[in-house]
Amino acid sequence: MAARRSKSRARSKAYREFVSEAEEILERMRADLVDLGDQRQAGGEPDPDLVNRLFRSAHTLKGLAGMFGLDALSELAHHLEDLLDGLRLGRIDARSPAVALLDECVALFASQTQDLPDSAQRPADAAAIRALLGRIDAAAHPPATAPVADALTGLDLDPALLRALTEYEEHRLRENIKRGRRILLVEATFEILSFEEGLAELTKAVKEVGEVLSTLPAPGDAPESQIRFSLLAASEVDAATLAGRLDFPHTDVRTALDPNAPPPEVRAWGRARAPAAAEADIPLELPEPAAPGPRAEAPAAEPAEDLASAQEPVAGPAELESLKSISDTVRVDIRKLDELMNLVGELVIQRSAVAAIAQRLVADPATARVGAELQKVHKALERKLHELQSGVLEVRMVPLRQVFEKLSRVVRRLRRDLGKEVRLEIRGADTELDKLIVEELVDPLMHLVRNAFDHAIEAPAERQAAGKPEEGTIRIDAFQRGNHVVIEVSDDGRGIDAVAVRRRAEERGLVSREEVLTAKETLDLIFAPGLSTRAEVTETSGRGVGMDVVRANLTALGGVVDVASTAGRGTRVTLTLPITLAIIQALIVGVSDQRFAVPLNAVHESLLVDPAEIQRSEGRELLNLRGDALPLRRLAREFGLPEAPVTGKTYVVVLGLGDARIGLLVERLEGQQDTVIKPIQGPVQQIRGVTGATELGDGTAVLVLDVSALVDDAVRRREAA
């Protein structure tokens, strides 16, 4: 042990990894504990899945702490595991004060982890841990209660099947019998090739009307290519009803126990079944460990299997197994991915050089054949490179789930603290985005949700008077649309008061009294700096952070934010984001002898315009774009480049982030390209109007335009005018 510890000491990097891994797990546990707390308050049974998840988290923590030689923490995690074990097996009642210890445990673990010095020299606060351990032990092992009369005797089930149940499954079985539910046995046969989907569908269908207690492979005479499963379920509905709901071939449902019916006739199970009196022989008493049997190979009962082996308090092979599964995931510094991405980008550039050579070879009759071969090889290379590129991109992608879970925790907390009835509905949590973008989204989304909670959703009485359900709803929808991800945050609250927004904007001098604004323009004023329609700033919505910050955050990510609102009905804020920042699609435009890249996500359309169509107002150029005045900027003039005399038609690229639009006058459109944006290094740190540069196929650097700066400049000039 000592040797292990000194070895660990040398690896402060490993400790940081431990800490970050542990923090992730603790974060998840906190979320689950909040859920558990909710369920306790509602007075219901804790959701078995939830308790199992908590148990698994504690188990992983124990493994991690052990691996890093942190014995005190490992001990703490072990007791935490014990406590959860008691809870999930029903030894500890969900309403017992022991459950409150869970929170304390997690909090202590978190604080110990945080204080962990790099070298872990300082022993963790042993006294605090020991004190808590004592209390857990007292709570986790209450005096044994008298065993209840065995409820399983009346079951019309194969004893072998009963023996195969894990301790937990058996607990759930007893629990359901106690509540007077029907116990049903569903037997189904699947093709071995596709049984996973079939079984998942069946399980889902059964869950709609009850609880699936256990899934076991059924012995039997199924042909080679098929596999049979038994699902033990508890439900309020009877076998016939369930069978009617299950639209699966080769599926039978029968009743194992019907509390409303007289005891079923004893059935024969191959060998004659012993009368009820003899059933006590069947080793089913709770403290017995689950008998090793057919379960050991049960492929379909995996989650439960994990847990069963996890109960082993000392490190056995099962535990080593679970530690191994931790290391299946690799934590990678995103900068390393960036480096990979750069390499791929360079390869892409090299590839176009190869393409050019092939083209030259083909053009010369003397080398045309070699050239054609090279072109073929080049095609294959191009395809593979593309796959490599998307592979690297994919690694950066993470689902939005984590962010959304944070949000729902916040809403739960607010609901409790403020006593406001608000429900958060989340859809599309599996939508994936670049990790960097997801990180940056937390604050804006948090702000939007708090805003909705605090300002938009009315008090229950007010809602009732308006004919709305007392409980308000905040909805988050995420989905992919082309190369973008759209996240909508909507509520069914009071909507934005356009009159108040206008008044406020006038007070702040953002608009003049005379200025005529469309409804949409008025609404968009909420994104102006320093505008909040409610005079008082509450704790909930935070201080000093407004919609202007939300917009700024989104713009920094190359995203767009829009708002729509109906008075009395609700508000919807729509965030549109690029899927990744690493590679962007760019439109290459040309002025004079220069080329520039414009991020395609900011390009709305491009027009071919006759110079005669360009109008002027106070010296500023405008274009009539389907009835709207589109301010024009000449890219050459913006950047001080020589302007070619306009002879024929010219190109106008309509740019915009959010709702502001400008038309950028350019001389040439040179096509679209995937580009990797690089920062510009050198003495000048920031170049207004330029976000970076990218290398094109011929090895030259091309500047990437900062669309938001260009639009801002145009807007500011309009305001100054």
């Binding site: 750069n342 980008g345 360079e346 550039i349 220069q594 913006e638 950047f639 001080g640 480049l641 990797v676 690089k678 920062p679 510009i680 290094q681 050198g682 003495p683 000048v684 740190q685 920031q686 170049i687 207004r688 109007g689 330029v690 970076g692 540069a693 990218t694 290398e695 090895g699 030259t700 650097a701 091309v702 500047l703």
Partner: protein
Amino acid sequence: MSEPRESQGWEQLARRAAEGAAAPEESALLRELLVFTLDGDPYAIAVERVREIVRLRPITPVPRVPEAIRGVISLRGEVVQVIDLRRRIDLPPAEPTRSTRIIVLHGDDGRLSGLLVDAVSEVLRVTEDRLRPDGPGDATAVAGLCVRGDQFVSLVDLDRVLDLGDGR
């Protein structure tokens, strides 16, 4: 491929020096300087600041920056600003030639910068006693002189040359 590779030697020397491989043995006071020419005159900078020396390649002009910045080049995927040293120290402009080079420097903060010079000539190993800290009185970018034979080599004050203010 057919172009002469005469800069290779300097490049390697500079790199080796920058990596500290050519540590001075004889005297702790030995300094290594990269000597280059501007408008016919020799100038020098400390070899430690040099990352590499590259041939002239297409320079993309950049708007809204001080005039001394010629633009940016792409260096194996990295985008680096290039300062025209002639412009920076108010020498008459000149057309690039075959010997024109870009000296790529690393900054203290890890950022790279490029320095456009007429030609790179040698790495000079000098002892500290041959350095004259005082340059011509009114110079803005020369920190001192170094004696080479009967000739003076101007020591460029890189910190001042690279300080262009932050945009405009």
